[in-house]
């Protein structure tokens, strides 16, 4: 599980969306399994990479089950009939994200935290090696933020998937992520949280007159 962190406007979401081929790259090249991202067609990519975005759903009138089932689209036939394997994968995703009680509810009946878990389950059902998430914990309270972080970590470790997400929850990322990419203006450090603390990668993140980083606790202090 890896997080991309950095201040607003540094390009976290841009990077994530470019990797997900949602927007065209600005420059450089992106390799996925040592193949240029450009050479993948939409369907090939859909079985390698799934996404959870910040944009709202167009229709919230889908049931939780229907929405998660849409994650199986890359594998279903021309009219979208679910095979037995698809149904197993959907139930696995529901169990892993603990949505069994909610599966027949409509999406408009859910809270933000529940809906985010449904979207994660949909990405899980898509059964890809990589899951990209854009700020999965925004709009959530502390409890639900921790819940999502722990959920992502357990998914990454149990299923051996790569989970890459953008976040403003630096302290939580330090505690729970395997690796972090810190986007600064010039240097972009990538590594394990404790290595990054030793390299004092987090100190440069914000202007020193507002907050300072305390390496011993891995947290930020507000300058008074």
């Amino acid at each position: 599980m890896s997080a991309i962190i950095g201040i607003n406007g540094i390009g976290k979401s841009t990077l994530l969306r470019t990797i997900g081929k949602i927007q065209p790259k600005l420059s450089g090249s992106i390799l996925l399994n040592s193949r240029d991202l450009k050479s993948y067609n939409a369907l090939d990519l859909a079985s390698l990479l799934s996404i959870v975005l910040t944009e709202p759903l167009v229709s919230k009138n889908l049931t939780v089950l229907e929405l998660i089932a849409l994650g199986r689209q890359p594998y279903t036939n021309w009219i979208g009939t679910l095979s037995d394997k698809d149904k197993v994968k959907i139930q696995e995703a529901i169990t892993m994200v603990d949505l069994s009680d909610l599966q027949y509810k409509k999406c408009y009946e859910l809270s933000d935290g529940q809906l985010q878990r449904v979207m994660i389950a949909r990405a899980l059902a898509q059964d890809t090696a990589i899951i990209l998430l854009d700020e999965p914990t925004s709009h959530l309270d502390l409890h639900h933020k921790v819940q999502i972080f722990k959920l992502l970590k357990s998914i990454a470790h149990k299923t051996n998937k790569t989970i890459l997400f953008t976040s403003h929850e630096i302290e939580m990322a330090i505690q729970l992520c395997d690796k972090i990419l810190v986007l600064n203006k010039e240097v972009h450090d990538f590594g394990k949280p404790d290595e990054l603390i030793q390299k004092s990668a987090f100190e440069k993140l914000f202007p020193i007159d507002t907050v300072s980083f305390d390496p011993s606790t891995g947290s930020f202090k507000i300058k008074k």
Binding site: P56, G71, P74, G80
Partner: protein, 343 residues
């Protein structure tokens, strides 16, 4: 699953309702024919009164089938547009299709007197009107498709479609201003819409167009469902967004363009039926919605046509007015009752 059985039951009931509406529609008209004799004629027997045979086979049955095709096709194209543009206000005519058809018809009816030197045919009949209207709607559709290549944003496409509509409407008003009263009357008469006057041959052409549109819609069911999540999600699920968008626009063009060409610009069905269907079936799954709107559209259009022909009177009301008068209160009632729009 339980819901699937429920849907199946719904469909059986709906098809029965469609059959009932069809029989009622055929049995009523300006000439009163007893129900028993109507059945006789439909089943292939001939009755003593020869003109009854003629009325039923050459007038009422083609009209009823036209109503079914028009209702189904418009409802389906409305559904396609609402999902593609993620907009509950979208209808089959948002891409300027109906305006294009109106322009074609207006140019033929009213323009022929203005540019009589340039147009070789000044004789206006139903067939040339249908051709002019379909040429008009397809030209507008073609421009929209060309624009769609350049513009990736679906919302921008929607606005461009509306702008084309405005331009063509403006041209039609200018034409109307300069034309004489007789021609204007003829044009307005066309714009009222009508499901009568189609020969079996024309009906066959319309059927082919509608079938093509329905087929294109059926192969789009999967992309349509993924579009419920949004365009970015749809792409991440392996949907070839560009191609799907073309297919959906083309299907709408065939359905709405073909219908407008033969039956005039018929309002409301395309906008309302998808809403009615979503409210009643309480789902947004296009595997259910596509067949459901086809049947609902047909039923609603048959009912409207039955009312429009004013049973036992020689007058026929403009079908365009009836679709709105009947349909709008139904949608308002459904929305008020459920207090929530399902989209």
């Amino acid at each position: 699953m339980n819901t699937q059985k429920k849907y199946r039951l719904f469909f059986v009931l709906l098809l029965l309702a469609l059959l009932v509406c069809l029989v009622i529609n055929i049995s009523l008209g300006s000439v009163s024919i007893p129900l028993k004799d109507t059945f006789y004629v439909i089943l292939g027997n001939s009755v003593q009164n020869d003109s009854w045979n003629n009325i039923i086979w050459n007038y009422r049955i083609p009209k009823a089938f036209t109503a079914i095709l028009v209702g189904s096709g418009l409802a389906l194209s409305g559904l396609l547009m609402q999902t593609l543009f993620r907009n509950p206000l979208a209808g089959p005519f948002v891409l300027g299709i109906s305006s294009g058809a109106s322009l074609g018809a207006a140019l033929l009816i009213m323009g022929s007197s203005l540019f009589s030197g340039m147009l070789s045919f000044t004789f206006v009949n139903d067939l040339s009107l249908a051709i002019a209207a379909s040429v008009g709607s397809f030209l507008v559709l073609l421009v929209v498709m060309i624009v769609a290549v350049k513009i990736k944003d679906t919302m921008a496409l929607l606005i461009i479609g509306l702008m084309f509509g405005s331009i063509t409407t403006a041209i039609v008003s200018i034409l109307s201003y300069f034309t004489n009263a007789e021609k204007l009357r003829q044009y307005i008469y066309w714009s009222f819409g009508s499901v009568g006057n189609l020969s079996w041959q024309q009906l066959l052409i319309l059927l082919t167009i509608i079938l093509a549109g329905v087929l294109l819609s059926i192969i789009s069911i999967k992309p349509l469902n993924s579009l419920l999540l949004g365009e970015n999600y749809a792409r991440s699920l392996g949907v070839n967004l560009k191609r799907s968008r073309y297919i959906i626009i083309l299907a709408t063009g065939l359905l709405a363009g073909g219908i407008t060409a033969f039956a005039g610009p018929i309002a409301f069905i395309g906008l309302a039926v998808p809403h009615l269907t979503r409210q009643i079936f309480n789902t947004t799954d296009h595997k259910v919605l596509v067949p459901a709107v086809l049947v609902y559209g047909a039923i609603l259009m048959l009912i409207c046509d039955t009312i429009a022909q004013l049973p036992a009177s020689v007058n026929v009301l403009p079908i365009n007015a009836i679709t709105s008068i009947i349909g709008a209160p139904v949608v308002i009632w459904l929305l008020v009752r459920k207090k929530k729009m399902i989209f």
